[in-house]
Symmetry: D2
């Protein structure tokens, strides 16, 4: 799933724990890192770093686009002393539905010829759309069990490059639970240094078999198709997609702005009450202004239409100004009339 030959460390814990693991294994108190402000989860990465005593160069963003490769290149080039130890990018910003273009960011780091580690939050992208830990030169990929991997929450993952493991030798942040060296070492002997969340492993084994059965390329195509149909619905409703750049559309979820003067949480409440469906909340500075439609994991065309119908009926019931026909547009996107039908 990670497309890597390097070790993957599995913690009993959440994706948030795996983020902490990325830091405490590679950094020392006072180290500088770059975090791109792409949304709420980028902010979390900034906060975690600062709580651990790491200094953060927080690259401002408008929450509607991904990390900028130009900005990255210029900042790294300027850091001739190589003070910056790591660059943190949230691959798919779950709060905005914007997916940063990792290959372009990697190229920017290479052009700058800078040795900073590349840390990527792939919590809501892994196993939903294309991800390549080795090929993209990622040093730490952080993930959780409960999204694209389709198992209950309770596992946090770090895929760890050799360069990141080397960094851990000199990293001085105190660590025990999240120390990845003891896990890698014990795993090689078939053990864990402490009790693993065994039962979730059984689910994970089955989930991996399901993903392989479908074929990862087909899984990605399915999510891309659902994302496109979702955007077709949003456009038909006359609402605005948060993500500005089509190159950065997320395949796993879509965030949508409410019309001015209408509160997303009121809409979400109506939909929950009438249709027992819970949309994603607008996070941090998007609170009340944005709702989010998830379309990842074990999900098919008809579940997507049901989901979008819940939104469309909710918009009507809540009195939110919109055009009808989003569901029809999504159906047209999923199942366009075959060429032969035009002749009839």
């Amino acid at each position: 799933m990670f497309k890597t030959n390097e070790p993957i460390v599995i913690y009993p814990g959440s994706g948030s724990g795996a983020s902490e693991a990325a830091y405490v294994n590679t950094l020392s108190p006072g180290d500088r890192i770059i975090v791109f402000e792409t949304g709420h989860f980028a902010l979390q990465w900034k906060n975690i770093a600062e709580r651990l005593g790491v200094r953060v160069d927080y690259v401002p963003g408008n929450w509607r686009s991904g990390a900028s490769e130009d900005e990255l290149e210029s900042r790294l080039t300027a850091d001739t002393a190589h003070e910056i130890k790591a660059v943190v990018v949230v691959h798919n910003e779950t709060s905005t539905g914007v997916a940063s273009r990792l290959p372009d960011l990697r190229k920017a780091m290479d052009r700058a010829n800078h040795p900073a580690l590349l840390m990527v939050d792939a919590v809501s992208s892994l196993a939903s759309f294309d991800y390549r830990h080795d090929e993209w030169g990622v040093d730490v990929t952080v993930c959780g069990s409960q999204k694209g991997l389709m198992v209950p929450p309770g596992l946090g993952f770090c895929a760890v490059s050799n360069k990141a493991r080397a960094a851990s030798k000199t990293a001085k942040l105190p660590r025990h639970y999240f120390d990845w060296e003891q896990i890698v070492t014990q795993n090689e002997k078939g053990f864990f240094p402490y009790t693993p969340a065994t039962n979730i492993f059984y689910g994970l084994r089955e989930a991996l078999e399901m993903l392989e059965e479908e074929g990862l390329a087909n899984v990605f195509a399915r999510h891309a198709r659902h994302a496109e149909a979702t955007r077709a619905a949003v456009r038909a409703w006359g609402l605005e997609i948060v993500c500005e750049d089509p190159r950065e559309y997320s395949s796993s979820m879509t965030a949508v702005f409410m019309p001015d003067g209408h509160n997303a949480d009121a809409l979400r409440g109506v939909i929950l009450e009438h249709f027992n469906m819970s949309l994603g909340v607008g996070l941090s500075k998007f609170a009340g202004r944005v709702f989010r439609i998830g379309h990842l994991g074990s999900f098919n065309d008809l579940m997507l239409i049901g989901t979008l119908a819940g939104v469309e009926m909710g918009l009507r019931l809540a009195g939110v100004p919109h055009r009808e026909g989003g569901v029809m547009a999504a159906m047209q996107s999923l199942a366009p009339a075959p060429a032969v039908a035009h002749a009839r």
Copy 2:
């Protein structure tokens, strides 16, 4: 669920076995009964009876309407010798989506003052829409576990009136497995005469709790609402509903005619292939001409829209002539614009 104070016999078996039980416990070889031809499952009742050596007065029907109370009254009135021992009605004809009007049929029997037993197949109506074993004077109500009761197949039920139990004292059809007296007697002591399908009982207990939690009236209202929305979709597509009489619309499923020259199984194949959804097949003389949409059991608004979207997209992909907008009509039916919204 049966709305009865009389015993309910539970067999390890299917609804088809419970039908056989209704016969072998109450009839003797050569007895005459009336079976109304309402569709495929009525035909099954006729066949079972004949295989067991029972003579069947098969009242012809066009598979688009329920049992006729006038026909019933005239036939029973004509039978002054009281040769007819039982009247068989399939409450909800799963092959046609037509629900016979049991209270009217009961009244016809009462007007004819005829002692025949009333046997009802409630396999696809029980726990989905109104059913009243005692109030309607039903003598044997036959059901299975896998539809409105929402548990795996493997249980057959007979609710049995005192009159039916009395009939079993003189009934001469050979019987052992389906003999209900030994079951009723042993049940009173907490036993079964042979190994029951224990594990399904646990599911049944939970299902009954779920139905009670929702409230049976709410369960019925939910199914009625889904049936109405389904019909709105069918009408919008310009297709024809099999059931002719609105008083007989089924709340648990809807059968739909294909346009002439188009095969229902081809459509069903396209939908199965593209959307992994399996519609009901046209049975017996409806083979190829009819497809059936189920909307019973644990089912909600968004699942219904997903289902109807699968049909609508399938119609398009299969090149079946239809108007678009069935899904929109269903959404309008489920969630009409609130009055306050008109003011905007």
Copy 3:
């Protein structure tokens, strides 16, 4: 499992239903059959036959030994008119722990050169010890899902020889639900004539994989070993095993006589109360005199010792006269001191 190449019919139902199926598919009203009185379940076969209008030659037995091949040969030889249509043998009498020697019975039928069908109740032997439908020339083997096959109750099986299928062509007992021809015919096309107990099939598939993984020979050896250890315990307690002939010891369960003046149900009650373990009840004429220890299905050495310990502690608590040391004898039987240990 049946060691057959002939069709196996699967009913939603119990083993008792499959017994009825064996009769109604092959016999006509008034037909004569032989049933060996080996215990309670043989009595059930007799009762079912008589309820269906079949005449039974009931060969008396003392409930402590299996069907007699000499008795069978002499009865069949005497029946020169070939009036006897079937011979019924309960392979493993669950009420007594006596396993009839089927190969010897088959040879007796062959010596008598008699065309009667051989019907075998393998409910509590199949998948627990050796069974060979084809090699032993059995015509109908009856089984259920809930013993050696280790899945929930709810399936009844008939393995059916060509000779039995031929007999069904002229058999006149009325039948619908248990008619095996319609099932065999529909199964060939991938269908069932009525709703099958689908969910138990999933369990069955897994159970068959487990049995194949262990290897059927190993499964049989395991049960034989547990049966021998159980008998070692019974002997050590000074109690009497019901089965008289060591050639007929059952591998799946052991029935034990209580000392005179002591009631088995009192003992069973003490054990249930103190150890939450439910021993088999003494059936019919063994009521109160016999308790039964099951050791079949998914069962291992330590579960057996726990079971026997429950019996031994129960005997003590209930004040039943016995010698201690049954559990120790069973442990000695399961794990005799290795040869090398004697040298110490």
Copy 4:
């Protein structure tokens, strides 16, 4: 379960993570604490503390007795500067089967009138035998989900006193994931600061219902009874129990010394191979010298006898010198002959 009115913080994680949480929330780099060397898990607590930059006064122990109240009192009394910030005691040492006497330790702290926090590892005692967070004045009680609470591993717990929460205000160890204040604060609003291991919560709810149904006093009595029967077996075998002081016997597991010259792991291998039962390994300095018998959680008399039989048969098969009769002694302990029986 904790017998507390103070908040209980639940982490997605292991008990080892909850230990780290106890430290990072209450201590600052360079702080001094006392850890009693009671066995392997006490050593773990020492190691974790040192990795986090905390100085440990490690009170030596022989791994056969619990923490000494006299030693504790004298050390605290000597610390007039109140440099010692916390005292760590493993309640039930899973490596030795020794349960420290917490009420006596609490009294010693009170006599010394010392403000150190009391931190207790209750991983293998909670819900198995008596535990009282509030009454015993414990400041942090650490536990996991997979032992007495009977659910899958994946949850770590900290019950936290007001004094401990107050300490967290000045504690300077860096923390994010294990920071308990954000969890307590968010829990009050019905949230978690990051994704909790939701599915294990459902299991936990059911487990708590089971414990309440049985009654906690009965649960404790059951474990005490099983522990006493286990010791009866060990004594009968002529082997030596690790725990020296009967006041400190553990109710949840029993550790046993091998005879000199015999390796515990060889015995464990024989038992695993023959009986598919995995005994606890000897940890750290007990490696090869000790095996451990667990008798906690969802466990009954017959499972205990099965377990002990596996040990006794394993001792024989592995050629380990011992006396037979351990299982008989355990049965005698569990079910002594009733008084009335003596009269017979």
